[in-house]
C-alpha cells in the first residue's frame, strides 16, 4: 500500500474585466504548465457558494484573490487558515450575500472544508470596469504564481486522505 499525494486545487478568484480584481485569474493563467498534471487550476468569479462543492474531496485548496487597498498596491498577504483567520479588512467585498470568507466558514460548518486552506490576497488599487491592472499588481501576480507553485509542492508532500493499494 502506498500513499497518494495530497489532492490540491488552486482557484484564482476575480473578474478580469474589473482592473486589479482580475489578479486571481491572472495568477491562475500564469500557473499553466507549472504544476503537476493532477493539480487542477481554475478561475472563478461570482458565486462563492459554488466553491464549496468544487473543493469537496480535496486535501488542500489555494485561493488567490484581490484585496481592498490597505497599504500599497501589489502587497501580498499569505494567510494559512490552519493557524489564522482571514482578516476582515482583507476580505474582498461582494455585492451579493456570500463572499469567500462566508464560503470558507460555511464549508467548515458543514465539515466539507479541505484540511489545508491557503489564501493569497493581493492588495489592489483600481477595480473600475474595463480598467487596466496596476503595474505593481501585475508584478505581484508573477511573484505569487512562483510562490503558489512552491506551495503546491509542499502541500502535495503531505499525504492525502486516500490511499492506493500497490
Amino acid at each position: 500500500m502506498r500513499e497518494t499525494p495530497a489532492q490540491v486545487l488552486v482557484i484564482g478568484l476575480g473578474n478580469p474585466d474589473r482592473g486589479d480584481d482580475g489578479v486571481g485569474p491572472l495568477v491562475a493563467n500564469q500557473l499553466t504548465g507549472l504544476l503537476p498534471a493532477d493539480v487542477e487550476v481554475i478561475s472563478a468569479h461570482g458565486d462563492a457558494l459554488s466553491l464549496i462543492s468544487r473543493s469537496v474531496g480535496c486535501d488542500a485548496v489555494i485561493y488567490i484573490d484581490a484585496a481592498a487597498p490597505l497599504t500599497a498596491p501589489g502587497r501580498i498577504h499569505r494567510v494559512d487558515l490552519a493557524t489564522s483567520e482571514l482578516p476582515k479588512d482583507l476580505a474582498p467585498a461582494s455585492s451579493h450575500a456570500f463572499g469567500l470568507t462566508e464560503a470558507i466558514d460555511l464549508a467548515r460548518a458543514l465539515q466539507q472544508a479541505p484540511r489545508d486552506i491557503i489564501v493569497y490576497a493581493i492588495e489592489g488599487a483600481s477595480f473600475a470596469g474595463g480598467a487596466p491592472m496596476t503595474a505593481e499588481v501585475v508584478a505581484a501576480a508573477a511573484e505569487v504564481a512562483g510562490r503558489v507553485a512552491e506551495e503546491v509542492e509542499r502541500l502535495r508532500r503531505v499525504p492525502g486522505k486516500s490511499v492506493v493499494n500497490a
Binding site: H45, G46, D47, L49, S50, I52, S53, S95, H96, A97, F98, E102, D105, L106, A109, L110, Q111, Q112
Partner: protein, 436 residues
C-alpha cells in the same frame, strides 16, 4: 445589547444595512404615540441606467446586456428581452426551442429559490443569525439547499454556456442546442434535486409563522394550460386581465424621494403583489396534482396571504420546477435549427416573464435596422416596494411595545419574505425606527 423601548413619545428604528438580500438599502420606521406612521425603504444603490445604455445598441446585443442586470436571475432579463424583440419583429418561437427556454428558466427558479429558502430566509425562522450558524445544527438541510442550487446552476450552464450571465440565449432561440444524449447526467441530478426539494417543503412547513394575513391584490402571468414562466396574460386577483402590451395602461411607476428605484402601482388602486404568492394564488390549478397534494400536506390552501409562508410557496415552486424540467427533458428532441430566422423592422415589442421574484416587464422600440430607440424595464422588486412598506406597517404594528431590536429583527424577516433583489431594482437595506 438589546435596546429597550424608550419612554419618549417618538421612536426611530433604523436598519443600517440589511443582510441576506441582494444589494444595498435601509429601512426607516417611525412610531408615533405607539402607532406606526411610516415605513420607508431607502434604496440608495446608484441608478445603473440600463435603459439609457441600451439606446443605440443592436437587438442582437440585448440579451447579453440585460443579463448583467442580475447575477441571480439573468435568465429573467434575457427571456423578457428576447420575447420583446421577437414580438416587435413578428417572430414566434415554438416547439422544442420554446421548451428549452422554459427549461433554462426552471434552472433559474431552482437556483434562486434554493439560495433564498435555505441560505437567506430559513435562519430567520429558526433563530440563527445566518446560514453558517444554522449549518452547524442543520447541516443536512444546508447541504440539500446547496445541492439544489448547484443543480439549477447546472441547467443554466448546460443550456446557457455558463451559470452567471449565460451567453447562449439569442433572439430567435439559442446559438447551440444540445443533443438528446447530453441530458443524461442532468436527469439524474434533477431526480435527486426533486427529492431534496420535496424534503425542503416538509421542513419549511414546520417553521413557526407569525399570524399575519394581508389583503394583497395579486398580479401574475396566467397561461391557458401551464404554470406561467415565459408567457401569459397579466392578470390580478381583482379582475385585471391584460395583454402584456397593455401593461402601461393599468400600471405606472412613480419616483419617491427615499428610493433610487421607482415604485410601481396600479393606477386606480395603488400597491400590488407579484412573485411566488401571486403566481401560486392565480395559477394553483395549473400545478400538477402531485404538487397540489404536497402543498396541502404542507398546510397551504389554493391561496396563501401570509407573506411569511412565502417560503413554503417558494419550496413548492422549486419542486414544480424540478418536475417540469424532467418533463421537458423527457419530451425533448433536437429542433431542426438552434434558432428561427429573425429580421428587424421599425416596431415596438413587449416581453413579460415570471422571474423568481415576480413579473419582469420589458418594452423596446426599434429602428428599421434593429437599433434600440427606447427601452423600459420594470423589475419585480421595484413593483413590490409599496407592498413591502405596507407589510412592514402590518408586521410592526403589534410589536410597538417591544424593543427596537425585536421590531428590527421581525421587519428584516418581513423584508426577506420578498427575496428582494435590490441590485436589480436599484434599485436596496438599512432599518431605522423613529418614535414620537
Amino acid at each position: 445589547m438589546p435596546t429597550e423601548p424608550t419612554t419618549t413619545a417618538t421612536r426611530t428604528i433604523r436598519v443600517e444595512n440589511l443582510a441576506r438580500v441582494e444589494g444595498e438599502g435601509a429601512l426607516d420606521l417611525t412610531i408615533s404615540d405607539g402607532r406606526i406612521v411610516s415605513a420607508a425603504l431607502n434604496i440608495f444603490e446608484p441608478a445603473r441606467l440600463f435603459e439609457a445604455l441600451l439606446r443605440g445598441r443592436g437587438y442582437m446585443e440585448t440579451p447579453d446586456i440585460v443579463a448583467r442586470i442580475c447575477g441571480i436571475c439573468p435568465i429573467a432579463y434575457q427571456m423578457s428581452a428576447v420575447h420583446a424583440i421577437e414580438n416587435a419583429f413578428g417572430v414566434t418561437v415554438g416547439g422544442q426551442l420554446r421548451a428549452l427556454r422554459r427549461l433554462i428558466y426552471c434552472g433559474e427558479w431552482i437556483e434562486s429559490h434554493a439560495l433564498h429558502i435555505v441560505m437567506l430566509h430559513a435562519p430567520d425562522f429558526l433563530g440563527y443569525p445566518d446560514a453558517i450558524a444554522m449549518a452547524r445544527d442543520h447541516g443536512d438541510k444546508v447541504r440539500s439547499g446547496l445541492a439544489l442550487k448547484k443543480t439549477g446552476n447546472e441547467i443554466l450552464r448546460f443550456l446557457g454556456g455558463r451559470e452567471i450571465h449565460p451567453v447562449n440565449v439569442r433572439p430567435g432561440g439559442f446559438y447551440r442546442v444540445p443533443r438528446r444524449t447530453e441530458f443524461a447526467p442532468l436527469v439524474e441530478n434533477l431526480k435527486d434535486a426533486r427529492d431534496k426539494a420535496i424534503d425542503l417543503v416538509r421542513w419549511v412547513a414546520t417553521f413557526p409563522f407569525p399570524d399575519l394575513e394581508r389583503d394583497y391584490e395579486f398580479v401574475a402571468l396566467h397561461h391557458g394550460d401551464e404554470y406561467p414562466i415565459n408567457e401569459g396574460r397579466v392578470v390580478s386577483s381583482r379582475g385585471i386581465d391584460l395583454d402584456i402590451a397593455d401593461y402601461e395602461t393599468v400600471f405606472e411607476e412613480r419616483q419617491v424621494a427615499h428610493s433610487t428605484a421607482l415604485h410601481s402601482l396600479i393606477k386606480e388602486r395603488g400597491a400590488y403583489l407579484c412573485g411566488p404568492l401571486a403566481r401560486y394564488a392565480l395559477n394553483f390549478d395549473r400545478l400538477p396534482a402531485a404538487v397540489q397534494s404536497l402543498a396541502a400536506e404542507a398546510g397551504l390552501g389554493a391561496v396563501c396571504r401570509n407573506p411569511f409562508r412565502s417560503i413554503i410557496v417558494r419550496a413548492i415552486e422549486t419542486v414544480y420546477a424540478c418536475e417540469e424540467a424532467l418533463r421537458l427533458i423527457a419530451g425533448y428532441g433536437p429542433p431542426e435549427a438552434a434558432s428561427v430566422p429573425i429580421e428587424p423592422r421599425a416596431a415596438a415589442g413587449f416581453g413579460c416573464t415570471e422571474a423568481p421574484r415576480g413579473i419582469c416587464w420589458h418594452r423596446y422600440t426599434f429602428d428599421g435596422d434593429g437599433t434600440i430607440k427606447a427601452a423600459r424595464i420594470v423589475p419585480p422588486t421595484a413593483q413590490n416596494q409599496p407592498s413591502i412598506e405596507a407589510d412592514l406597517v402590518a408586521v410592526a404594528t403589534p410589536l410597538t411595545a417591544q424593543s427596537d431590536d425585536v421590531i428590527r429583527a421581525r421587519c428584516e424577516q418581513g423584508i426577506r419574505n420578498y427575496d428582494p433583489c435590490i441590485s436589480c431594482s436599484t434599485h436596496f437595506l438599512k432599518l431605522t425606527v423613529h418614535r414620537t
